[in-house]
Symmetry: C3
Subunit: 204 residues, 3 copies
Amino acid sequence: MILYLLDLLGVAVFAVSGALAAGRKSLDLLGVAAIAIVTAIGGGTLRDVLLDNPVFWIQDSIYLVVILFSAALTLIYTRFRQPPAKALLIADALGLSFFAISGAQGVEQADLSRIIVVLMGTITGVVGGVLRDVLLAEIPLILRRGNLYATAAIAGIIVYLILQQFGMMRSLAALLGMGTITAVRLASIVWGLSLPVYSLQERK
Amino acid sequence: MILYLLDLLGVAVFAVSGALAAGRKSLDLLGVAAIAIVTAIGGGTLRDVLLDNPVFWIQDSIYLVVILFSAALTLIYTRFRQPPAKALLIADALGLSFFAISGAQGVEQADLSRIIVVLMGTITGVVGGVLRDVLLAEIPLILRRGNLYATAAIAGIIVYLILQQFGMMRSLAALLGMGTITAVRLASIVWGLSLPVYSLQERK
Amino acid sequence: MILYLLDLLGVAVFAVSGALAAGRKSLDLLGVAAIAIVTAIGGGTLRDVLLDNPVFWIQDSIYLVVILFSAALTLIYTRFRQPPAKALLIADALGLSFFAISGAQGVEQADLSRIIVVLMGTITGVVGGVLRDVLLAEIPLILRRGNLYATAAIAGIIVYLILQQFGMMRSLAALLGMGTITAVRLASIVWGLSLPVYSLQERK
């Protein structure tokens, strides 16, 4: 039950982030709804399709209702005020952390190798944002030089898997994994941490 | 049988629209074929993958034949004449209306919630065009300010569902739903109707 | 066994090509890994999802290990030397040829029509590169005017199918199909062969 609520919260946060990105590109209302939906469910959908599971939001339409409601609230709110950048970044970090761990948990039970578990959790966490950027014709944010995003997800999932290996309770390990993701993500924003860039110069 | 012919007609129309878009970007012959295929089958393919149904054009290769034939005819025709813009817009509106309603009908029987039926019909109708634009590195047309496209599909599917609710025969409701889509789409072109735009200014 | 090794070799080659493309856009290390993965497994993944087969790299994580290892080697190598452009083009042509034929073979047994077999083989060979270009916000290379790429794949698969039709052993036909792809691809680079371009001028 708590998991389900956290899941809905993650969906809501990503819907808000999608709606704001759509607003920056001046899309119409339906475009805003479309980008909000894709951002919020893209990662989980790709995970479900790759694993040949039933797609999560098709069985349970409350997800779409939450997304459309969040996008509408975003539109109304930003009519009157600036979006609170800091609150959003924290919310986004929490959303990422929950999606990544819950994505990893979904795969864990299917008896797949560890590297696949890490990859599926990361896909669940980040692919929605990638699709949002591709639809808006930009190089996806997480592929560009900058703060740690997918890196945070990967670090947290690894922490979660290792703690379980050492016998920690699953729910506690999940909590610490989520904490790791949020901490790495926020620390990278505050201190401007980033991965080394690989830059190839074409010789003439 | 009539449904199947209308389906093939929809595929043909979208193949022509894909081929014309490819021509505007000066792709080679194979690029034209690829864009025509993606435009014509993209929406139905995503619907089938999301619902874990067999993908419609894999079982029945007549779809691909129709697409390649339509793309070839487009190439030959435009060698000699300008594409008839008005006829194409009407054909495209008809294609959209048929794909959207047939997409909704496919999902209806699976006992899913109404919002999913509307979404799946809309996906069937519009995703091919979105993929066409993404592959040509443009912001998808339907996400940009402009005429009503996805809106028309959504309106028609809702009309179709409501009429059935009131006891109307399924085939008649489908016909009226398709009529609604075509009418809304063409009216939006003629009178320049569009949805309100959501535009966020970044404050400095 | 030989097939499996060739498959891994194809994956490695495409991972290198993805890593180099990422380097040209100055992505960070994780971005490089992501683009390498998508380039190497994109085509096979789409084929498996469309046919509703289990996705090949989820069951067997050695693929991901090979990809990450190849990307890492690429990073280290290009620190010290220019990438050997010619060797890479030949390796890429070999990778394409193997992916296309192995993709066609996977579908052949499912009793589908010939046009679907050709299409699935081509998808397996070229979609990874298309996704790489879309993620880097470029019009996919194979859609642009230039050398024969998908054309080479299609020609080789058709040769493979026709030779089998005439009673040739499957493995020999596969070898000749792969040879055709490599030859057409390399010949098109050496002599600058390309398909005719379809270019539509908008009249004012």
